[in-house]
């Protein structure tokens, strides 16, 4: 069973374009590849914030970690864990 954070991110990204194969998905640089472009980024960020009831800090959205799917999922999980503490 795929975890809900990954499932949501995949779902949002797949609407825009097909995703790379499973084994490379975590390192896929979805921002650099234009999968989410600068026009779509704001909406993408707010959709994630809304879904998981979190709020990204600008250092997070500007970090290198945010630019890969794996990194983005880690940031979301970390923030969710911090909130439940």
């Amino acid at each position: 069973m795929i975890d809900p954070v990954a499932a949501f991110i995949y779902k949002q990204l797949e609407k825009k374009a097909p995703l790379p194969p499973e084994d490379t998905i975590a390192t896929y640089r979805y921002l650099d590849r234009g999968h989410v472009d600068s026009i779509g980024l704001i909406k993408f960020i707010f959709e994630i914030e809304d879904e998981f009831q979190i709020q990204f800090a600008s250092e997070e959205t500007q970090s290198d970690e945010f630019r890969t799917i794996g990194g983005l999922i880690s940031i979301i999980r970390r923030k969710m864990a911090e909130q439940s503490e």
Binding site: K11, K15, P18, I39, Q55
Partner: protein, 513 residues
């Protein structure tokens, strides 16, 4: 009579069945394969009860299946209504309703969202939903339709007058104005591009914008009806664009000027990757002259800039040679196009007099769907009034001076301020607002909103951003919020947007993302 688009394509299927017609990522399709998939889809749709003349809503990412659908729709006389998947389900439903969409072809998760949306006017018994990428209850599966071997039924008679693509100009909350393009319009546009850019069957044409916009649709249809090869990118990044050009020996493309700005640094690093380009066209907005000069210093190919609107496609063309002597011009009339400048009383103006740009062209649209009032208002005899302000010099070169219509063009995509304003006004603390265009180095223009609130303390800009993210498509998102005590208005009470634009073009903003 067979469909003009499908017949033109099928001619090349017979002549060059094994030639690559379409490349997408690592996939490639020969003319024969593409024709086979399109015909199977057409047979499956016919079998499911879809009839010639039906309107099909399309919400798909860039993918080969979109092209199968475009060809199948041409073959059996369907009108496709493509839309952006980033619109909310409610907005999609309303946009589709304005075009009398009966059936849907969409990415599975988008269809699932639409099914859950309570307003779904086209959710009737006769309505066929086709899902791609996964299964959705009560929907046909796109991929399985391609594996069935249904007998092809008798080909319906399809003429050039058959509506083929409804291009949606306005978004959701405003007034959707579907632009009707007939099969003959698409053919005329393809022929014009073929003549203007000397396209032949040897060309490899790259489409790197979303297929729900007419530019990419044209860039795919053009090679398919002229025997060339289409290369479709799933998404755009400057690095991938140049790598794709190099890898597929791309010889022709039309890029949005904001894309070319991003591509320049990549070409600077690896100019030889662009060696296969024979002709490159910049569209949407005029390129900055310094940027253009540098770009051309790396490119040995033919280079054009064009001016046009969705309703008329290309109006004027600026060739590389003319670009050197006619700086800042958007070129002279494209073949078959007559351009004139008119005053407020529709009288033609003399050379160098600024006024509204009007065009008479065989490429013009068939009207706004079910909006004869708007169509009539936009036409002056055979001339389409563009809503743009320009002048023509004594040599016949057109200069774009600004827009009469209140429209924001961000990254080549039209945003109607009303759509944005309607959403912002839903926030209880906003008394009034005005969406305006502000210049942006990368996107040409961005959406900014000047807002007036009745409670500065309580107003949280993030709430406005969240509201916009929920209800507006990605390209419609405001990038700047300007907090004001009141909006500047003229004596008639009309918001003076030009003043706002001028003031905030140079100033710092209250909120910057």
């Amino acid at each position: 009579m067979a469909s003009p688009i499908f017949s033109a394509f099928q001619k090349w299927v017979e002549l060059t069945p094994h030639k690559t017609a379409l490349s997408f990522n690592d996939l490639s399709f020969t003319y024969e394969m593409l024709s086979d998939s399109a015909q199977k889809l057409a047979a499956g749709m016919t079998d499911a009860g879809i009839k010639p003349g039906d309107h099909i809503g399309v919400v798909l990412p860039n993918c080969p299946e979109f092209i199968f659908l475009m060809l199948a729709a041409a073959q059996i006389g369907l009108a496709i209504v493509p839309h952006n998947s980033s619109m909310s389900a409610a907005a999609l439903a309303s946009a589709f309703a304005a075009s009398d969409v009966k059936h849907l072809v969409g990415w599975h998760s988008v269809l699932a969202d639409l099914k859950n949306a309570t307003i779904s006017p086209f959710n009737s018994k006769e309505s066929v939903w086709i899902s791609l990428g996964g299964s959705v209850d009560d929907c046909m599966n796109f991929s399985s339709m391609l594996t069935r071997n249904l007998p092809m039924q008798k080909q319906p008679d399809i003429t050039g007058d058959q509506p083929y693509i409804f291009s949606l100009t306005s978004g959701s909350t405003g007034e959707p104005k579907p632009i009707v393009l007939l099969q003959s319009t698409k053919m005329a546009r393809a022929h014009a591009a073929q003549t203007l850019y000397s396209i032949t069957s040897n060309d490899v044409t790259l489409a790197a914008t979303p297929l729900y916009h007419s530019l990419a649709e044209r860039l795919v249809l053009l090679p398919l009806i002229t025997g060339g090869t289409a290369v479709l990118m799933a998404t755009f990044s400057a690095k991938d664009w140049l790598a794709t050009v190099g890898r597929h020996n791309v010889s022709f493309s039309i890029a949005v000027s904001s894309q070319l700005k991003q591509i320049l640094p990549e070409i600077r690093n690896q100019p030889n990757l662009a060696n296969s380009l024979r002709c490159l066209v910049s569209s949407s907005a005029l390129l900055d002259s310094r940027l253009k000069a540098e770009l051309l210093s790396y490119l040995a190919c033919d280079f054009h800039e064009c001016y046009g609107t969705s309703e008329i496609a290309i109006a004027s063309n600026l060739s590389r040679k003319n670009g050197e002597s006619k700086l800042a011009s958007v070129g002279n009339a494209a073949p078959g196009v007559v351009i004139k400048i008119i005053d407020e009383n529709n009288n033609e103006l003399a050379a160098d007099q600024p006024g509204e740009i009007a065009c008479n062209t065989p490429m013009r649209f068939a009207g706004y769907y079910k909006r004869n009032d708007l169509t009539r208002a936009a036409m002056l005899g055979d001339y389409f009034k563009t809503g743009d302000i320009g002048k023509i010099d004594k040599d016949g070169f057109l200069y774009f001076l600004g827009r009469k219509k209140d429209i924001i063009i961000t990254g080549g995509v039209n945003v109607y301020p009303q759509d944005v304003e309607n959403v912002i006004m839903q926030h209880p603390l906003i008394c009034e607002c005005a969406a305006i265009a502000l210049p942006d180095e990368q996107l040409g223009e961005i959406v900014a909103v000047a807002i007036v609130t009745n409670d500065r303390e309580k107003l949280n800009i993030r709430d406005l951003q969240r509201l916009s993210a929920k209800q507006l498509a990605d390209y419609q998102q405001p990038r700047r919020y300007i907090l004001l005590d009141e909006l500047p208005k003229n004596r008639m009470g009309k918001v003076m947007k030009r003043e706002l634009t001028e003031k905030y073009t140079s100033e710092k903003y209250d909120t910057q993302l």
